[in-house]
Amino acid sequence: MVDATSPTAGRILEGPRGSKPKSRLSRRNIFLYGTLLLVSIYYLLPLYVMIVTSLKGMPEIRLGNIFAPPVEITFEPWVKAWAEACTGINCDGLSRGFGNSVKILIPSLILSISIASVNGYALANWRFKGSEVFFTILIIGAFIPYQTMLYPIVIILREIGLMGSLWGLVLVHTVFGMPILTLLFRNYFTSLPEELFKAARVDGAGFWGVYFRVMLPMSIPIFVVAMILQVTGIWNDFLFGVIYTKPETYPMTVQLNNIVNSVQGIKEYNVNMAATLLTGLVPLVIYFVSGKLFVRGIAAGAVKG
């Protein structure tokens, strides 16, 4: 089996392979860029439609086609989605949810990534009897529909007294983020040269010593991947957010659902789209900004089976 991990990260930003294009307008290039542009339309269309719709007034939406650019640009839907849209008798839009989402995100992010990285490290370098069995259970766990686990988790949280608190939700995110993150870290640490580990051991470093002094500093790319995956996963979570929090602490996604499903009179597509975009903004920005790091990190560790 070829180890796909190794030379990857180095090359990924150095540039692609293949013979140098001979001329700019060769048939090959037309085909290549043509295909890519065509596919790009499929990927960009929804974003385009969402943005355009969110900038139109309702009369224009009802008359026009959804692909036409707005005749009169209005930011009112955005204002409404952020600060005025109603659910029940609360009319403060998504604004409340933003802070809540951040409050949920940060501790969940820290806890889930630190636990998963230590797990991965133990699995890669300090295997003990049964460790692979637990790991296999964990991976199979990744396939269990979350819904199945809702009830047992309610019971577990009740028993440890965390039901309804922020930490209960943090714990749930940590547990369900664990399979895929542990897999990532395990694969990454496995791919690091063994000599590093040995040398540190010879120097007398123990489990934690090796982890903090050798492994941690070397694993920034995979931390970036884990972070990006978790930010999107936790930020986009709806199911856990709605079940394990209260109205005052509802994350943004729950409020998005509330706004979109609180139909008052007519469906305000423009407000819905603005609300949708606002909710997606954080993960989107993260992807646009750190896309390169993400790809590099994936190349560095995730691809090993």
């Binding site: 309804g164 079940i243 009179g265």
Partner: protein
């Protein structure tokens, strides 16, 4: 003064525990225009008349979205102060498990039994002789809502019952309108089916199926008429492609559709749109065929909590929800009927008056929530969702309905 006496007893009863301001989180799924106005009446009453603070925990979607959230919170030991649930069989097991506050003492002190009408509402809240919820409104689902504008466009009279409506359908179609607006969701289709069945076959046959769960009658020739009527309705609603109930109601309000079968809460939407019953729209209880309505509705339950302040506040809140003023304000906004027989509703509109008259005449049915378990209702909803969206024959649908009734509990 009777009210004063009642208030005094309430006060005496409540002051038994310390009175200090508490935040009362209230979960409910009232998020459409009319509903939101109505619930804010309750919130206003609680905020103004007590030292407590109504924290609104609206969950958008339908009861199906909200109930799991409500139930898992209660089960998980992190209950809200109060929550909407449909009374009937939904909360039985929660009460059994001792998770709901017993309101019997308050109810006796205030004499709920004397003024709650019809009394079946309080029975829906009663479990083994104790009262566990406050009914807040009566909702019935056997209503046909008709748009005057639409029939004017078609150049015909507004129909007086379901069969006239069916007969008028071709004219509506000629005028380029959708004869019947119908939200494409299982629960709405089940409401249409329920309204058609009671209206077409009458109370006795209906009770045999829905109350006594007689599968032979459900599969028999009498009930075949119901399925034929449903198949007709399906044809009339062919071109209605909205999902939400209030979007369907909006088609009637704007004269794009002739009519809609929906619960009386549709009235709230007409009110928000500034329409007047009898002038802009007509409502036909029992689809104009049988003068009966069911008495389902919403109720508030108060989960057992530890905080003594919240405990005391829960009782205060229960007392306010059932008070005359709150009942009038809430129900006028929501378009539902109040649960008290002792209030003057002369300000109510044409449709509510019709409903009140039927109530007074005793044309009252038990609600599906009281007669069928949520499980059976879900199976019926699934069947209806499939039936309305496909070309399933009336016969097939009836056979499957009969088998659901046969296994119902």
């Amino acid at each position: 003064m009777k009210i004063k006496a009642a208030l005094a007893t309430t006060a005496a009863f409540i002051s038994a525990s310390a009175l200090s301001a508490a935040d009362l989180e209230v979960t409910h799924w009232w998020t459409s225009g009319g509903e939101a106005v109505a619930v804010s009446e309750f919130a206003k009453a609680v905020n103004e008349k007590t030292a407590h603070n109504w924290v609104d925990g609206a969950i958008a979607g339908s009861g199906g979205t909200a109930r799991p959230i409500i139930i898992s919170r209660i089960l998980g030991g992190d209950p809200m102060a109060a929550t909407q649930l449909n009374h009937g069989r939904q909360a039985e097991e929660l009460i059994e498990a001792g998770l709901m506050t017993d309101l019997t003492d308050l109810a006796e002190a205030e004499g709920w039994k004397d003024f709650v009408y019809p009394s079946s509402l309080l029975e829906g809240c009663t479990y083994e002789g104790r009262i566990y919820c406050v009914p807040v409104n009566i909702h019935s689902t056997q209503w046909l809502w008709l748009s005057h504008d639409a029939f004017e466009q078609a150049g015909i009279e507004v129909p007086k019952d379901w069969f006239e409506f069916v007969a008028a359908a071709p004219k509506l179609e000629e005028a380029g309108l959708v004869p019947m607006a119908q939200g494409q969701q299982g629960w709405q289709q089940a409401i249409a089916f329920g309204a058609l069945s009671i209206s077409v076959v009458g109370i006795d046959t209906w009770s045999k199926v829905v109350v006594e769960k007689d599968a032979d009658v459900a599969g028999g020739p009498e009930y075949a008429k119901v399925f034929q009527a449903s198949a007709n309705a399906r044809e009339l609603a062919r071109n209605s492609n909205v999902q939400d109930w209030n979007l369907a109601t909006n088609m009637v309000i704007t004269g794009k559709a002739g009519g809609q079968i929906m619960g009386d809460w549709a009235q709230g939407e007409f009110a928000v749109a500034g329409q007047v019953a009898g002038e802009d729209y007509t409502c036909l209880p029992g689809l104009g065929l049988n003068q009966v309505i069911d008495t389902g509705g919403d109720a508030f339950y108060f989960p057992v909590v530890d905080d003594p302040d919240v405990k005391a506040a829960q009782l205060e809140m229960a007392s306010i929800l059932i008070s005359k003023e709150a009942q009038v304000a809430f129900n006028l906004a929501k378009g539902s009927l109040p649960v008290r027989g002792d209030i003057d509703l002369s300000t109510a509109n044409d449709c509510m008056q019709k409903g009140l008259a039927i109530l007074a005449a005793g044309g009252v049915l038990p609600n599906a929530d009281q007669t069928l378990s949520a499980d059976t209702q879900t199976q019926i909803k699934d069947l209806m969702a499939e039936f309305w969206a496909s070309d399933m024959t009336a016969e097939d649908a009836q056979a499957r309905y009969a088998s659901i009734i046969a296994s119902a509990d």
